[in-house]
């Protein structure tokens, strides 16, 4: 179907996309280390319960963590080998959770899920739940919950914006695995019983737009290159013209948003009977000698990946897990890949511009770029004074999507996102 032009959302910022480092490198299989540590909390919600014990022999694709509770997801072993420990470790955000440490025997003795007999919505959703698929754009919300919305839904929006600088893993998936991604999208649409499928792609990926135009059941929306185009609410607005009401879910606007990587994982789970134990991830930044897009098994340590991509430590200033706008900095490279990690960045001092915050001068730049039209300076002001109710009333802090546009443009370098996070957590406590 011929591509249509997406609507524009007001505000947002324009950043150099810096995708040139890893844009042209093919997806390659990353080598697998000898020891993998697989987290049981790779998603939002309750961590999975371990169902293996130390000393057990596991196969690749064997269930090792059982979902506990409704908002949770299964965890599978990504290699075959022996469980040598189950221990608590911190994740990049600082929260600790259980990790299952597996000694790789390099046999790759694989176990796959039972083949599906039909492609009914219920069976697909059941399979997605079984395979442990979560939103792979970064939030990690279990996908099967999103596929059973409470309100009627008529549109499936696929997020091909990839608005974070540096990251190219979704781009490479769209280019190299177009038909697989499309099949995954069709399965998602079937699970939702909708026929209206829109895929939003930013205008800086003309090759992807061309590839997806050949499919008659998928409408391509060409989006302006702006940050944060990949935000659920803004993607829905730009693709369909609908606004998600304040405090409501996308389903209330009749839409469900899914990520490219998620669609690919759905295809693999349904058609290839493969549970989710690996994903494509971008390793990039000026300190990386060999920027690449790697298919990585969950539990691979970041240090191993950095070594493989030839990390140059002479001018290393910052290590980031995720994108540079919303990802988290790493204290060391002693962390392990999870379902939600879409990128690993090693930036040098020319890319990172770290300055101490100075007083707010009230220029209003933050409010003029906020895609949610909030008042970040007011949130910061009230939060610094400890008045979280004021931050909610005058700044609208609870509607913040934490995209970081405000802090990006702030000439006084205020830590606005930190203030917002603080106000949100304090308000939630009450």
């Amino acid at each position: 179907m011929k591509a249509k032009k997406g609507k524009l959302f007001r505000r947002g910022i324009h950043i150099a996309d810096k995708k040139q480092y890893s844009k042209m490198s093919y997806i390659q299989d990353a080598p697998v280390p000898e020891i993998l540590s697989i987290s049981l909390a790779q998603h939002i919600g309750k961590p999975a319960d371990p169902i293996v014990a130390v000393g057990d022999l596991v196969k690749q694709g064997q269930l090792i963590g059982q979902a506990s509770g409704f908002v949770s997801a299964n965890v599978y072993s990504s290699v075959s080998g022996k469980v040598i420990a189950i221990e608590k470790r911190p994740n990049p955000r600082g929260q600790t959770s259980d990790y299952i440490v597996i000694q790789n025997d390099f046999e790759y003795d694989a176990l796959s899920l039972e083949p599906l007999t039909d492609r009914e919505p219920k069976t697909i959703i059941e399979r997605i739940k079984e395979a442990g698929i979560v939103g792979m754009g970064g939030a990690g919300f279990p996908t099967f919950i999103k596929l059973s919305p409470q309100t009627p839904v008529d549109t499936l929006v696929i997020n091909g914006a990839e608005c974070e600088p540096y990251l190219t893993c979704d781009y490479r998936l769209m280019i190299e695995h177009t038909s697989e991604v499309v099949q995954g999208i069709r399965l998602l649409a079937k699970a939702l019983s909708v026929t209206n499928i829109i895929i939003g792609i930013e205008a800086n990926k003309p090759d992807c737009i061309e590839l997806f135009e050949q499919y008659d059941d998928i409408q391509v929306a060409v989006l302006k290159k702006a940050y944060p185009m990949g935000s659920e609410k803004h993607l829905i607005y730009c693709c369909t013209g609908r606004e998600v009401p304040v405090g409501k879910l996308p389903a209330d606007a009749g839409c469900v948003v899914q990520n490219i990587a998620t669609a690919f994982a759905v295809y693999e789970a349904v058609e290839k009977n493969k549970p989710l134990y690996e994903r494509v991830l971008t390793v990039s930044g000026k300190c990386i000698g060999n920027p690449s897009n790697l298919r990585v098994k969950f539990g691979t340590s970041f240090e191993f990946l950095f070594d493989y991509c030839k990390l140059d430590t002479t001018d290393l200033t910052m290590l980031i897990c995720g994108g540079p706008m919303m990802g988290s900095t790493l204290l060391s490279s002693d962390y392990y890949t999870r379902k939600t990690d879409s990128g690993l960045l090693a930036l040098d001092s020319t890319e990172v511009d770290f300055k101490d915050p100075s007083p707010c001068i009230g220029c209003g730049r933050c409010a003029s770029v906020c895609p949610m039209k909030l008042l970040p300076m007011a949130i910061d002001f009230y939060t610094q004074a400890g008045d979280y109710e004021g931050a909610k009333k005058y700044g609208g802090v609870l509607n913040c999507i934490e995209c970081g546009s405000c802090a990006y443009v702030c000439p006084a370098r205020r830590s606005l996102v930190q203030s917002i996070g603080l106000a949100k957590s304090q308000l939630r406590k009450k």
Binding site: F9, I13, I15, P165, K233, H234, E243, P245, V246, K248, T313, L316, T317, M318, I320, P324, M325, M326, G327, S328, T329, L330, L331, S332, S333, L347, E351, V352, D353, F354, K355, S358, P359, C360, I361, G362, C363, G364, A367, S368, M372, K373, L374, L375, M377, A378, Y394, G396, N399, E402, G404, A407, Y408, C410, P411, A412, R413, V417, Q418, G421
Partner: protein
């Protein structure tokens, strides 16, 4: 592995800094300062230098009193006090005694800015308050003794020079017919008496365009302020003389400190509303207040008007905020209210019938 920085997101930042923005404002003020020195000679330079030194020095001394190290003071210096000093010097005339810029500068920085908490915390514009303070304290020297442009070559292109009063006071007091000078002269500042930085509108405009190009200010706000002042003046005069007084439009916006105030003082970040919605309310009101005050007081009141309106900025900031993405629009809200009312009415009627 060597040391890495750990910080909150976002990890990449834009290029603008407070220091850079304030430096841009200083650069934008330069043309008007230079023209002031050309027109009014070395005395003007002295006044500008004194006020700048007074402002910057009093800020540093104040911080030294707070037991800050001189090194950190230098590192944290963000040019805001230099901007204040330049603006303050520009809105004094060149014949003021040497102590006026010094005292006004100390007052502007210490009382108006530092006592309220320094950069970004002042509730009114320091330069304007410094000028108003000097105006009230040294009234005799502030409203008389205006200097004529000293260089003989710079004569008005048309009309006579009336000594003893600026074109604006002339116009406000004796009517627009007695202004005695052409609009072009007012625009260029040739042969116009007035404060150092306010007579050459061309130089101010050049500075303003620089600020707009550098995206420090938005062109809309000075334009809205200047236009509402002009239109309001025409309206007031039309009512007063009971005929259409369009001839007051250009003289009213080209004389006095309106350009200086509109481009550099009213657009001060700290003391103007921080949302565009608030600014659409603030600047028109500012224009109306300026025109009204000018008409009734018969003196130049741009600084008083801005000072007055500065005090309303927190109010505007608190109550005028943009519609959050996904919130119902005003018309939708009204519609919902009406529907709820009708539903309540219908329920009431039904209830009554049931009884």
């Amino acid at each position: 592995m060597n040391k890495v920085i750990v910080s909150d997101s976002p990890h990449i930042r834009g290029v603008r800094t407070t220091k850079g923005i304030m430096l841009d404002v200083c650069i934008a003020l330069l043309p008007a300062c230079i023209m002031g020195c050309v027109y009014f000679g070395w005395k003007a330079l002295l006044v500008l230098a004194l006020s700048c030194i007074s402002c910057v020095a009093s800020e540093m001394v104040y911080q030294l009193c707070l037991k800050k190290k001189f090194k950190t003071i230098l590192a944290e210096f963000d040019f805001t006090s230099l901007v204040t000093g330049m603006l303050l010097g520009m809105c004094l005339h060149s014949n003021v005694p040497w102590y006026v810029p010094i005292i006004a500068g100390v007052f502007a920085i210490v009382v108006v800015k530092m006592l309220f908490g320094g950069t970004g915390k002042n509730i009114v514009n320091p330069a304007i308050t410094g000028r108003v303070f000097a105006f009230i304290s040294f009234q005799a020297v502030m409203i008389s003794g205006w200097a004529m442009p000293t260089i003989k070559a710079i004569k008005p292109l048309a009309g006579n020079i009336t000594s003893g009063a600026t074109p604006l006071t002339q116009m406000l007091g004796n009517g627009v017919e007695n202004i005695g000078i052409s609009n072009l002269d007012l625009f260029l500042g040739t042969g116009v008496m007035g404060c150092i930085g306010e007579t050459c509108k061309l130089a101010l405009l050049a500075g303003g365009i620089y600020l707009v190009v550098r995206k420090v200010i938005d062109w809309k706000w000075p334009v809205i302020y200047i236009l509402t002042t002009g239109v309001m003046t025409v309206l007031i005069n039309s009512i007063a003389i009971k005929s259409f007084a369009i001839n007051t439009f250009l003289p009213s916006i080209l004389s006095g400190g309106l350009f200086l105030g509109a481009i550099f003082m009213a657009t001060d970040y700290v003391t103007s509303p921080y949302t565009n919605k608030g600014r659409y309310v603030y600047y028109p009101i500012l224009g109306v207040v300026t025109a009204l005050l000018r008409h009734f007081t018969k003196i130049e009141v741009v600084s008083f008007a801005i000072l007055l309106m500065n005090l309303f900025v927190p109010l505007i900031n608190t109550y005028i905020r943009p519609r959050i993405f996904g919130e119902p629009t005003l018309s939708e809200k009204i519609k919902a209210k009406r529907q709820a009312k009708q539903a309540a009415k219908a329920a009431k009627v039904e209830g009554g019938e049931a009884k």
